[in-house]
């Protein structure tokens, strides 16, 4: 981006200094507002139940304990099972890894075709594919559950991963296409004259410059699929639930005492992976968000 914005509250007059102080104050207040729920979650998760009942949301724990975390991981009840979220956490991993990998790879090839190997009707085809980015998934829930049953993979992690692959393809294709469109066509022409074909050009000329978009797509897909709830709740069985569904079950389990500290620990466990991804590679996360946003 050439040069930064030049409008600012200047530093000269006292009025402007005051303005700047106000801007800082409000920005910091906003930051506090965004951080408080997280802070509350962490505080609550390390308190004992008595502590919670006697203190308040932001009161410092009188006694610091990881019991809630251990319980959330190991023995909290999700409905009838009382084995914590650990199994479901691994379910999520088992679901996310293959579905992200496959939808990303197919998306890359699709994007390559839609940008660099256009043929008659390919633009129409691309628009046709785009619809998948926008539909409310309620419209496909029923037939999809029918199809999973027909394929004998309903209520399996495999089936769930398949659903995520299918409905992720539109997005990944879109992302890759928009990235590859910016690569000059002339490079492809030069490579064709140099004797390279479809796969060789992809492998030697396109993939080596694709690292950023792979980051964006992988992060986008990972957060989308990890955070999904709708497909998880609609298509998984009690053994194959992803962690979001398990978390919701823990929170909604009505038997026994309500253990808010365990709820919060479970929520943190479910949220940490994507939070970590975000903190490590926020740049790519942001790019995916805004790129996906333009068309979705």
């Amino acid at each position: 981006m050439p040069g930064k914005m030049n409008v600012m509250v200047g530093e000269k007059s006292p009025g402007m200094i005051a303005g700047r102080i106000i801007v800082y104050t409000l920005s910091i207040l906003a930051a506090v507002y965004f951080l408080i729920p997280f802070f509350v979650m962490v505080m609550t998760s390390v308190k004992t139940l008595e502590d919670i009942k006697s203190g308040n949301l932001i009161s410092w724990p009188r006694e610091f304990t990881l019991d809630a975390w251990i319980k959330a991981w190991d023995s909290a009840c999700t409905g009838i099972n009382c084995e914590g979220v650990k199994g479901y956490f691994f379910n999520s991993i088992l679901m996310v890894v293959p579905s992200v990998a496959i939808s990303t790879i197919i998306g890359a090839v699709n994007g390559y075709v839609f940008s660099k190997w256009r043929f008659k009707g390919s633009e129409v085809l691309f628009t046709f594919l785009l619809l998948g980015c926008f539909i409310p998934f309620q419209i496909i829930l029923l037939p999809m559950s029918g199809m999973l049953g027909w394929l004998k993979i309903s209520q399996t992690i495999f089936g769930l991963a398949l659903v995520h692959i299918i409905y992720g393809l539109s997005f990944t294709s879109l992302f890759f296409r928009n990235y590859y469109v910016a690569i000059p066509d002339e490079i492809i022409k030069a490579a064709k004259i140099d004797g390279a074909g479809f796969f060789r050009i992809f492998w030697k000329c396109i993939l080596p410059v694709s690292a950023p978009i792979f980051m964006v797509v992988i992060i986008w897909q990972t957060t989308q699929i990890w955070n999904d709830f709708l497909f998880g709740v609609a298509f998984s069985g009690s053994e194959s639930q992803p962690v979001t569904v398990a978390l919701n079950n823990i929170v909604n389990t009505t038997t026994g005492v309500k253990e808010y500290n365990v709820d919060m620990a479970a929520a943190l466990i479910a949220g940490l992976p994507t939070l970590l991804v975000y903190i490590i590679s926020g740049k790519y996360f942001l790019r995916g968000l805004t790129a996906g946003a333009v068309k979705g």
Binding site: P184, E186, I187, K189, A190, A191, K192, I193, D194, G195, A196, R200, K204, C205, P208, V209
Partner: protein
């Protein structure tokens, strides 16, 4: 090196016909420049020759082989692009050798070729660098090197110098010409810059709206343009087009140059190669190059080809060796190229001499030249 024969090529993008029946016959070792305004279809034609797009009808022959259905890689051509199209992820050496590797040329041979080409283009020190680490001129050399390494039968250049700054462009122009004199490979070179076309070409093909307007040597194209478009496109500053009506005065046919409210001059046009008797009382367009309305001709007794006129100077543009003087003739702005010492100031009257020996006459309706078109 190979000849290239193009016969009645047509190309459509959707409903828009971009090339409307192009025919060119290019000899082996010839340097042909394809020139025309942007958007006229030059790149498209080059892409068709390269096989990067498919033709709708017509025939392309390289040497004796019809190559309509042959893949780009099997046409034995190499291409240099305006954007250079270097592979950004490969260093210079890899860029040069990629085409050879794809063709499974043995390793030691690749190395020899790359070194040879790098030497020839003076890029040996750059071999390990990535394109992003090169200057524009260096990238341009690498792009040429990539084409040279392949030792093709035909070189295709698509505006290879357009992205360079003015000085570098002139230098590279000379180098390309020297390169051609050395390797003698057939070259088809696309540009929108008529000076580049004039300086480089053995023959120039001038194109407009998907049609070749004229295909001839630079001198012929300059002296004997076949229509208004070519006449105006070639030459800088461009030819002046003065609308006139042909009249007969005494025994002579000629035209009137009106240079002021009350000043007008009869210019008889009498040449062995040009007779306007059929055009009396009709409108024509007179084409005069700036150097043909000048100050320095010797006004010899008996030379019927040079005529004096008096004009009011509007604007002066000194260029160094000459000064361009803008005057009004028949309500048209006319550029004259005069000796700086002779130039008068704006508002003053100035005596100019019109050399009609090379004046061209065009039909305003058909835009074609009148007279013996060479």
């Amino acid at each position: 090196m190979a000849s290239l024969t193009i016969t009645d090529i047509r190309k459509k993008f959707g409903s828009q016909e971009v090339l409307k029946g192009i025919s060119l016959s290019i000899n082996a070792s010839e340097f042909v420049v394809l020139v025309g305004p942007s958007g006229c279809g030059k790149s498209t034609l080059l892409n068709l020759i390269a096989g990067l797009e498919t033709i709708n009808s017509g025939e392309i022959k390289i040497g004796d082989d019809v190559v309509n259905d042959v893949q780009p890689k099997d046409r034995n051509i190499a291409m240099v692009f305006q954007s250079y199209a270097l592979y950004p992820n490969m260093n210079v050496e890899k860029n040069l050798s990629f085409g050879l590797e794809t063709r499974k040329v043995p390793r030691d041979e690749i190395k020899k070729t790359v070194d040879h080409v790098a030497n020839m283009l003076q890029i040996s020190e750059l071999l390990k660098r990535k394109p992003a680490e090169l200057s524009g001129g260096q990238r341009q050399r690498v792009a040429m090197g990539r084409a040279l390494a392949r030792d093709p039968a035909i070189f295709l250049f698509d505006e290879p110098l357009s992205n360079l700054d003015a000085k570098l462009r002139v230098d590279m122009r000379t180098e390309i010409k020297m390169l051609h004199q050395r390797i003698k490979t057939t070259i088809v070179y696309v540009t929108h810059d008529q000076i580049e076309a004039m300086t480089l070409a053995d023959r120039i093909a001038i194109m407009k709206d998907g049609v070749i307007q004229q295909f001839d040597t630079p001198q012929q194209v300059y002296d004997n343009p076949s229509n208004l478009f070519v006449a105006g496109f070639i030459g800088s500053p461009s030819m002046n087009f003065i609308p006139c009506t042909v009249i007969k005065q005494n025994e002579d046919t000629g035209v009137i140059f009106k240079t002021g409210e009350e000043t007008s001059f009869f210019i008889p046009i009498k040449r062995t190669d040009l007779s306007l008797t059929e055009w009396i009382d009709k409108d024509v367009i007179i084409g005069v190059r700036p150097e043909q309305i000048a100050s320095g001709f010797h006004l010899q007794e008996g030379n019927k080809q040079i005529h004096e006129i008096m004009c009011t100077v509007q604007v002066l543009e000194p260029t160094g060796p000459d000064t361009l003087v803008f005057v009004n003739i028949n309500d048209t702005k006319v550029t004259c190229r005069v000796n700086p010492l002779d130039a008068k100031q704006p508002g003053e009257n100035m005596k100019l001499m019109v050399d009609i020996s090379k004046v061209l006459v065009f039909d305003p309706d058909t835009k074609m030249r009148i007279g013996n078109v060479a």
